[in-house]
Amino acid sequence: MNVVVCVKQIPDPATPGKLNADSNTLERAGKLILDESDSFGVEMALQLVDKAGGGEVTLVSMAPNDEVSGLRTALAMGAAKAILVSDPALAGSDSLTTAKVIAKSVERAGDIDLVLTATESTDGYTGTIPGQVAGLLDWPALTFAKEVEIADGTVKIQRQTEAGYDVVEASLPAVVSVTAGVVEPRYPSFKGIMAAKNKPVDKVTAADLGLDASEVGWSGARQQIVSVEKAPERQAGEKIEDDGSAYEQIVAYLEKLKVI
């Protein structure tokens, strides 16, 4: 079984995010890392291929400046190879354009049974890529999976719902988005890290994928940021130190609010 995992390489979420002053898009100039949300997809793919007893895991990533650090992390976990789409023409791409790039990359990857993504990325979190990629490929989209099983050419998931979960099944090939925590991502071993350095990364541009520069990036985006502002701050009220009787003040406050 051959699986593509979409992995996004993002600015470290631990550092405060910044918008580029000219373009109002996320500043992605510094070093990028593997979006932690995608480490679950990578682990899931490795386990599924292992269970199937054959096949390989191919990574697909669209990222600026030939960025590979996040890809290397996922290759070190055990993925076999990667397709990296990096092209200045793609700067400013909206989610639908990103989905087009990913769908074309899946086609480029060849004979694929399953595409895995996270439910949403950490930095852009539109959460629309899984559905858009499935729509473009005309494959079933099984979203918000908290359990994934493959058997006899079908994929069956537990799909998170407001009330609990649904069991959803479709034939392969299909796109599945996995929630954080579905599996425990492995730490890359030293051997894995060394091996990752020599694993093939197929670097392509939008044109290589058959996408016209006028359809992608700034030229392709059909929405525009019109203003960016600081959010108004909420004012804090009283602050007390507990001396053993703070609960009394809480009770008084609850009474004032009439919630008791």
């Binding site: 729509g135 079933p140 799909r159 959803v168 059909r222 602050k239 609010l257 008791i260």
Partner: protein, 321 residues
């Protein structure tokens, strides 16, 4: 001419979901004609409330054992050309996200997501989002031709009935969703929940890593929530640690809540948590670190050890009831 706005409606049991009523209320404010598209059972039972909140008509589609978002996208793709709404609104929910993203691919239309405001500027439609954990507000407008597709986070607008007549129900045959329609729903599992829903509760009590252990969640957070007739919530730290299920998570990647009272216990106040609760009417915070960022927002801050403060509070409340 006024705008025609469609809302992708979802159900919660035999009532419209609260997120749907919020969208209808907003649609009524900015649009002239408001209609709903609903994929699911019992459209007739929903028509009264949909009408009351602003929909004059509901297109009702039987999912036929398929995912509502998948069938919704296929149905919308067929319905849009003949009916030409200006805006189609979706909740940023599980099914709403499926529907908007599949439709976006089908129609080759961009999307704006995670909206928390919608406004019109002349004939421009502008969607506001909160980014960087809610400390920055970004307005974006659609370019190109309508219909514009937008997903709005639940709890962005108040739901208010407008007193409209029940929506007329127009049944639409289940469309052929192509290969996407191969995904079959085999079974629904409903997890037990006591008390009100997190997003609808008047009082929300949330706990974080400062509780010290998973065992403390029940006696400190659940019990306090129960005494206040509220729902219990959580920070992501303790969801990720497996103390409580994801459904309880409040924040950027969880639920947005706007209760009358929010109580944060042992939560540091990361921006990603606060974006989900700072719209609450009143906030009480308890943290043992007086410098914790959470203290930037509460109406009442109680600096102290949660394992000491909360049991006393619970005792006092029990003594009253």
């Amino acid at each position: 001419m006024g705008l025609k706005i469609w809302v992708f409606a979802e159900a919660d049991g035999d009532k419209p979901a609260s997120a749907t009523l919020e969208l209808l209320t907003k649609a009524r404010e900015i649009g002239e004609t408001v209609e709903a598209v609903y994929v699911g059972a019992n459209a007739d039972a929903l028509a009264g409330a949909l009408g009351d909140y602003g929909a004059s008509k509901v297109y009702a589609i039987d999912p036929g054992g398929r995912l509502p978002g998948v069938i919704g996208a296929a149905a919308l793709a067929e319905l849009l050309p003949a009916n030409s709404p200006d805006i189609v609104l979706f909740a940023q929910s599980y099914d709403g996200r499926d529907a908007i993203s599949l439709l976006s691919a089908k129609l080759d239309k961009p999307v704006l997501t995670n909206g928390f405001t919608i406004r019109l500027d002349g004939d421009k439609v502008i969607i506001g989002t909160q980014i960087f954990g809610g400390n920055t507000l970004v307005d974006a407008e659609f370019e190109g031709e309508a219909p514009y597709l937008a997903a709005i986070r639940p709890k962005s607008f108040a739901a208010e009935p407008g007193g409209g007549a029940p929506a007329t129900v127009e049944t639409v045959p289940t469309p052929d969703a192509g290969r996407a329609g191969e995904a079959k729903v085999l079974d629904h599992h409903v997890e037990e929940r006591e008390g009100p829903k997190l997003e609808e509760a008047v009082v929300v009590v949330s706990g974080g890593r400062g509780l010290g252990s998973a065992e403390n969640y029940g006696p400190l957070v659940d019990d306090l929530a129960k005494l206040l007739h509220g729902a219990s919530g959580a920070s992501r730290a303790i969801v990720d640690a497996g103390w409580v299920p994801y459904a309880k998570q409040v924040g950027q990647t969880g639920k947005t809540v706007k209760p009358k009272l929010y109580v944060a216990i042992g939560i540091s106040g990361a921006t990603q948590h606060m974006v989900g609760m700072k719209g609450s009417d009143n906030i009480i915070a308890n943290n043992k670190d007086g410098e914790a960022p959470i203290y930037g927002i509460p109406d009442l801050g109680v600096v102290g050890d949660a394992t000491k403060v909360v049991p006393k509070l619970i005792e006092a409340l029990k003594a009253r009831s």
